[in-house]
Amino acid sequence: MTEQELFEKRVIPVMNRVRDDLSHKQAMEAMKFNNSFAGIVSGMGPDGGMAAHMAAMDSLKITGEWNSKTVEDYIEMVKDELKKEDIRVTPDIESMMIDKMVRDQMPKSSIEYIMRKAASNSIFSLADEAMKSPLQHEIEERGEELYGPTKLEKGVGLGIGAAADFLAFGGVGGVGGALKFVGADLALNAVLSPSSSDKKKEEQEMKVIEREGKYKDVPLVVLPGHEEEWLRMQDKENQTIDTEKAEEAMIEALARPSETVQMPVIEEPAQVQQSAEPVQEQTARKENADGWQGVMSTFGLNGLGDIGRNAGYILAMLPDILVGMFTGRTKSLGLKDNMMPVASIIAGMFVKNPLLKMTLIGLGGANLINKAGHEELAHRDGISTGTQFRRYDEEQLDPRIENPQLRGTTLIASIDSIPVTVTLPQKVVDAYSQGALPLNTLANAVLARCDQMQQIGSAQERFEEQSRTETRTLSQR
């Protein structure tokens, strides 16, 4: 019996049996883990336990007795089984075993290839890819080569992988962002994983070790068969260089008498260059300083810091802003200018991916608050800076009122030694902050108004007392 016959009749059944047995044991181990406490707990998490469960399954692939088996382990298991049947595994048989696995690994159809390629090029497969043994990588690559995918199949596979990554990263940036991301991902894939034809070329290049005869000056990087072409190009270049040299020599000869006239012409570009340098530096510095500005502007969040600094005011004015949406006072929340943020929020309500949901709703909401907040701040600042007030002179503080202090719209003072807080109208505070109303004058006016109110209050009290019929003690105050 030849080795080929031995392999086909005895080894392949053993390989299949061991593979099925291993798959069964792996499945049982995974099921046992899922039913264990650790497995149940791993199914809990903010995203429905998806990420936590994936992490737990990855850890099972490292720590599990059967799930941690690599292709090398599988071959060893097959060898052990064959040993029991008195079959010696020669290097040829081992090579045939690997070839069989390559054939098994080979995609059977376009769709299978595309889905497999997309999965292996997505970030979701990072852990799996990292855990694969070198032999497994080799088998997969050979399987792919054996299938011989078309460029279209490869492109679609990589594209789907890149699109999955884009969505997993939040899917932000609109259509332009998506195209940039997918494009960059594809470009990276193209650079990092050379195609099989590139590999063949590399192999050919490696085989070319030395050249003889008229091709001995041709660099080794030039592919075999292209030496003539390269030599022709070199000849052309040499001719061009010779012509240029001749022209330069002629110009030099002609220019020699008027050398002094040409001096400023030579200096001019240098000056321009010198003056251009600081501009470049300034631009670079500006770009560095505004590193996040571009991103924030893209999401319509420029000047969000103003909203953060005035968060209290904005929150306090939120009911006003919301009512203003219906009355037309809040102009920045019109539907026409806010299609994208509103669409983002609505899309976020229907998206199941929690990361995407948070991003869509969060960014949409932040955009709307930013716009309405800025409008409200502008409204406030307009009152405080744009209005003209009648100017009052500084007065002497009435001795009845002590230590007046203004904080925001509240005046704190002691009137007749009793501490009082007085809430002032905004226009009074604005006039004070513009310097039109001195504090002492304001305090005196407040005291006068308090007395006025007290008089009205006591008159009312007296009237109430008179109308009451109750008797009081002889004298009480």
Partner: protein, 97 residues
């Protein structure tokens, strides 16, 4: 041009401690006492005997209420002043935050 003090509409909150004081005689009208109530407490402070002349001064409004209290209830008024001072400091602290 806006006059900021025109139609000044303010809201005043006073942090005073209510205090009531009274004078009363015995049934014969010979002995007189004064009694005070601080912070609307029902029991009130212990009565202090006064002369008939002083009682008449009070009844005729010839003496200020706080002056009367300082004279006849000095300990209570000291506590009152401390409380007012504390209130003033707390207000300033709150506003400075």
């Amino acid at each position: 041009m806006i006059d900021p003090l025109a139609d000044l509409d303010i809201e005043v909150q006073s942090f005073d401690i209510p205090r009531t004081v009274s004078v009363y005689p015995d049934q014969a009208g010979i002995r007189w006492w004064t009694k005070a109530w601080f912070n609307n407490r029902k029991e009130g402070e212990a009565s202090v005997e006064i002369t008939r002349e002083l009682a008449l001064l009070f009844i005729r409004d010839n003496i200020e209420k706080d002056e009367w209290l300082e004279e006849h209830f000095p300990k209570q008024m000291e506590i009152y002043h401390n409380a007012i001072q504390q209130t003033r400091e707390q207000l300033l602290q709150q506003i400075n935050i």
